[in-house]
């Protein structure tokens, strides 16, 4: 359902949109400029420039119960250009800030991989993409901004399908709208979608699903229509852009978010990361959907639905024990299911429902879980 708007209203809206985007861009640029100026002044004064960077070591990652996510503690490390061991990474970070500045200023997008390759043109060396990715996280930590704010996106794409109207804000597409149920393969969640305005939707719920195969099945089975939902394929662990979008759908469109994963410990944790973030991104906020609900496949579902299973591997079991120590797994469904997984030492995939017919999962399981979610 599209809203009918007058032309004037439309123009006004676009103006507002671009103003909002401009505002954000201006903030980022100001912030980068501030960092740059400090370093410039140090150099000009004959001082070795330095800055403080929040420590991302395990000991400095703490769980904030109020925010319901992992955050960085107060430990910070000084990174100084005087220290010859840090000089290289200092320079890399300087270059990245410089490059992010250009991207933001010129409203161009880049990917993690693209950043890695671009460095070579400036004589900045990265050993591999891993090193460059790490510096990008450093920049996030120093500026407390997600890399997406600097127009740097991950390579991996997850997808979205459902009745949602969006309006692009990226250069060249400003004001252009799109309904995300027009294309049955779904829409890839990239920079333009992440930054688009969410205009309106008829959906009443967001269903995040771990696997592309089931996503396609859900589209075919018109889960979007049947259950008034927006379907999102997380493609395993949800990328940050997808988590940002999930959060915006929840916060801006007031839609509840449920997560469907494989019936194993990794699936459970995929749901947890959507809900409360990962330790890897403890330096960032605004990536979590604390109200998101994991509805299955639970360990208890395996017995309940008599699902075909396979035994857990050594690493599955080890992961269970690891997560038992995680403060987020100390109560509720999270703790209960983890304990059952450890008890039965077996796991089931989402596809396990196919044993009872290809549409069994959408016909039988999903409705029951949606009902259950209301009480969770």
């Amino acid at each position: 359902m599209k809203l009918k708007t007058s032309k004037a209203k439309e123009k006004n809206r676009i103006k507002e949109l671009s103003k909002k985007a401009d505002e954000k861009q201006k903030n980022v640029l100001e912030m980068l400029k501030g960092h740059g100026a400090k370093i410039y002044d140090d150099l000009d004064d004959g001082q070795f420039p330095k800055f403080s960077i929040p420590s991302r070591s395990v000991s400095n990652i703490v769980y904030d119960k109020k925010l319901r996510q992992y955050i960085l503690g107060s430990n910070a490390a000084l990174r100084s250009s005087r220290n010859s061991a840090q000089l290289r990474s200092f320079t890399q970070l300087m270059w990245l800030a410089f490059f992010a500045n250009r991207l933001t200023k010129e409203k161009k997008s880049s990917t993690l991989r693209d950043v890695y390759y671009s460095s070579q043109a400036f004589g900045v060396e990265f050993e591999d993409q891993g090193e460059s990715d790490n510096i990008i996280v450093d920049l996030e930590a120093v500026t407390s901004r997600a890399r997406e704010d600097f127009h740097i996106f991950p390579e991996e794409r997850s997808s979205i399908f459902g009745d949602l109207n969006i309006e692009y804000t990226i250069p060249g597409y400003e004001g252009k709208t799109m309904n995300l149920s027009n294309h049955p393969d779904g829409y890839s969640i990239g920079p333009s979608l992440t930054t688009a305005e969410l205009v309106d939707t008829s959906a009443e719920i967001v269903i995040a699903i771990e696997k592309g195969g089931l996503f396609t099945r859900f589209v075919e089975e018109q889960v979007d229509k049947k259950f008034k939902s927006i379907i999102i394929n997380t493609g395993g662990q949800a990328p940050r852009s997808t988590r940002t979008l999930l959060k915006r759908l929840h916060d801006e469109m007031k839609l509840p978010v449920i997560v469907l994963t494989d019936g194993d410990v990794y699936g459970e944790h995929i749901a947890m990361v959507i809900k409360s973030g990962s330790a890897n991104a403890a330096h960032l906020r605004e990536l979590t959907v604390p109200d998101a609900k994991w509805v299955g496949v639970w360990a208890t579902d395996i017995e309940k639905y008599k699902l075909p299973t396979i035994p857990m591997t050594e690493s599955d079991i080890k992961r269970c024990y690891d997560l038992q120590k995680d403060p987020r797994y100390q109560d509720g469904v999270w703790k209960k299911e983890l304990d059952v997984f450890l008890k039965i030492k077996r796991k089931a995939e989402l596809e396990a429902f196919s044993k009872y017919g290809l549409t069994n999962i959408t016909d039988k399981y999903l409705p029951q879980k949606l009902e259950l979610a209301k009480s969770l």
Binding site: G36, Y40, L43, D44, S81, S84, F90, M94
Partner: protein, 623 residues
């Protein structure tokens, strides 16, 4: 019975060595050529050292027929500027085995001059050519000999002898021998090269069969102090040695016959005069200091006998009963044995007891051993549970063994006198290493003298790093009594000590460019084989080697860490120079400025603060 004895006697030393030439390093044409070179060069250097002459040694090897393939006859000539040899000694010196001047307790390259004769012998066996010796010992006449060795009789056969006018002293020895230069060449060149490192005061040239000339001029003008002949050290002496020393120190009562009496009269200046007993005694007292031991003994006897020369002629001394202080004699006149009492307080009593019973222990120790004073001697006697005045001649076999044991165990003897040793000295050694390797770092040490089995030795060692030294070290240059040791490396004690070292502990890793020069000086090097190429691992020598190497390694480690610091500083400066301009470039655009910041200040300040790299560090430890 006598025929068997004769048979044994017929084997001359020449014959023995002829059939055992492998032992002396003449096993094959390659090894023999190399050994012959060594023997002659070492003899030349020894001769110069002994007379304090700066050696000029010329070595020439020429093929008799260059077209022939190896092994083939070569003419080997070694010429020196040493003292030469008197014409009369030449035939024996070069034409007999076991004739030499190098017997005695002091350090020399060769022990008995045996090797050179072996080389001559080997040459004669393989080519049937005589040795040619040209010697000038007086600076005026040169004696030129051609000598063959009569192997069975161990006697020289002079083939030719001529004399010529000459201007300079010196000796030239030339032999023709079967050799293999294509195989031995490397070793011989190494030998000459390494010899010149340990003999920096010598000038050595080598003309090889291929017409190449190797010249090693001297680069040290002072010759190291020559060794002296010394008394033995008490440590490590054995029962047999003590027994012989006692015999040397003991004298028998001389037979008093006409000749003896005549000698005493002469020494007292009384050949023509006849004096009374009392006058003789007075005369003897006056002349006592200049009298020989034998004469003193006769006088002492006379003092107890109270006889003049006339009477003395008519008796025969029978026995000296020291415990009962009685002197027994046979009187020819009465044809009976008589005795007189001896007064133990008399001067002469002491003279006689000394003669019969040998010296007291303390005197024996102080007089016959090196570096034992009266105090130490008394202390030792107490330690060994002997009376200090115990006469050496009265020791029983068991007491001898006890004494020998105690001599080994007593720890308060001073370290052996090293004056019989001729180490090169730390300074010339360091000079040599620097000249040969042009290293970044050199350290040398001369350990204090030590002893093994009663033989004193000194370890000199040098270590050098970097410069012209090839990587893949440590390269070890082994020397013993200024001889380079090139063969049989595997079983040598020096290499054992080097290989046992954990170089990582001294900050030396990978294939480092460094060398170790080790020089063992001793009156007797404990070679494992007669070929004199590797030193046996005597515990005392190993310990000294270890201490020397540890000392030097620590010096090297401190150099390495300083060098490491300097390299780090340089590396850091390079890093700044590379990255700071980049940071400047990026922050300029980031901060929206037009002009780059003045970062040169940082770079300049950092450069000024850099520690200076010391190109070379010298450590000399000379004790």
């Amino acid at each position: 019975m006598s025929s068997i004895k004769e048979k044994f006697n017929q084997i001359s030393p020449s014959e023995f060595f002829y059939s055992n030439r492998d032992l002396a390093g003449f096993s094959n044409p390659t090894r023999s050529l190399y050994t012959a070179v060594r023997e002659f060069v070492e003899n030349a250097l020894d001769a110069c050292d002994q007379k304090g002459i700066l050696p000029d040694v010329h070595l020439t090897i020429k093929a008799v027929d260059p077209e022939k393939s190896d092994p083939k006859p070569y003419i080997l000539t070694v010429k020196d500027n040493g003292p030469g040899i008197d014409a009369e000694h030449i035939p024996l010196a070069f034409g007999t085995v076991l004739y030499g001047s190098k017997f005695g307790l002091k350090q020399a390259r060769g022990m008995f001059g045996l090797g050179a004769t072996m080389a001559i012998l080997y040459g004669q066996i393989t080519t049937n050519k005589p040795v040619t010796v040209k010697s000038c010992a007086d600076g005026q006449t040169q004696n030129q000999f051609e000598i063959l060795l009569d192997i069975q009789k161990n006697k020289p056969v002079i083939v030719k002898h001529i004399t010529k006018d000459a201007a300079k002293k010196g000796l030239s020895v030339s032999i023709c021998l079967e050799g293999d230069y294509s195989k031995a060449g490397n070793k011989i060149r190494d030998y000459v090269y390494e010899t010149s490192l340990i003999t920096p005061y010598a000038s050595i040239t080598f003309d090889d069969p291929k017409g190449q000339k190797f010249s090693h001029p001297r680069f040290v003008k002072e010759i190291p102090p020559p060794p002296t002949i010394i008394r033995p050290h008490p440590h490590g002496i054995d029962v047999e040695r003590i027994r012989r020393m006692i015999v040397e120190s003991q004298f028998e009562i001389p037979t008093i016959d006409d000749t003896m009496i005549e000698k005493v009269r002469k020494d007292l200046g009384l050949s023509k005069k006849t004096l009374s007993f009392t006058s003789i005694m007075d005369k003897a007292k006056k002349k006592w200091k200049n009298l020989s031991r034998q004469v003193r003994v006769v006088i002492a006897l006379m003092s107890f006998l109270k006889m003049d020369f006339e009477k003395l002629n008519k008796i025969r001394i029978e026995d000296l009963d020291i415990p009962n202080k009685k002197l027994f004699y046979w009187d020819f006149g009465d044809s009976q044995s008589k005795s007189v009492d001896m007064d133990p307080d008399s001067q002469y009593y002491k003279q006689l007891t000394n003669t019969v019973q040998g010296e007291p222990l303390t005197t024996f120790l102080t007089k016959r051993f090196q570096r034992i004073g009266p105090t130490t001697a008394v202390k030792f006697a107490e330690f060994a549970k002997f009376k200090p005045e115990k006469r050496m001649g009265t020791l029983t076999n068991q007491e001898l063994v006890n004494l020998s044991d105690a001599l080994q165990k007593f720890e308060d003897f001073m370290a052996p006198d090293s004056s019989c040793l001729a180490p090169l000295g730390a300074e010339p050694l360091e000079k040599g290493i620097k000249k040969f390797f042009n290293p970044d770092f050199t350290a040398v040490v001369q350990r204090p003298a030590s002893a093994y089995s009663g033989f004193p030795f000194i370890i000199e060692m040098g270590i050098a790093y970097g410069g012209d030294i090839k990587s893949g070290g440590p390269h070890v240059y082994r020397y013993a009594n200024r001889i380079p040791l090139l063969y049989d490396e595997g079983s040598d004690v020096v290499l054992k000590v080097v290989h046992d070292t954990d170089w990582g502990r001294y900050k030396i890793k990978g294939e480092p460019p460094f060398i170790i020069v080790s020089h063992i000086c001793s009156t007797r090097i404990p070679y494992k084989t007669a070929g004199k190429e590797n030193v046996a691992d005597r515990q005392e020598i190993e310990r000294e080697l270890r201490l020397a190497l540890q000392f030097l390694s620590r010096k090297l480690a401190s150099f390495m860490s300083k060098r490491g610091q300097a390299e780090m500083a340089k590396k850091r400066a390079n890093l700044y120079a590379k990255y700071i301009p980049m940071i400047a470039e990026f922050c300029t655009e980031l901060s929206g400025k037009k002009k780059e910041p003045n970062f040169q200040k940082i770079l300049d300040a950092e450069k000024a603060a850099q520690p200076k790299l010391i190109p070379e560090e010298n450590e000399i430890e000379n004790k």
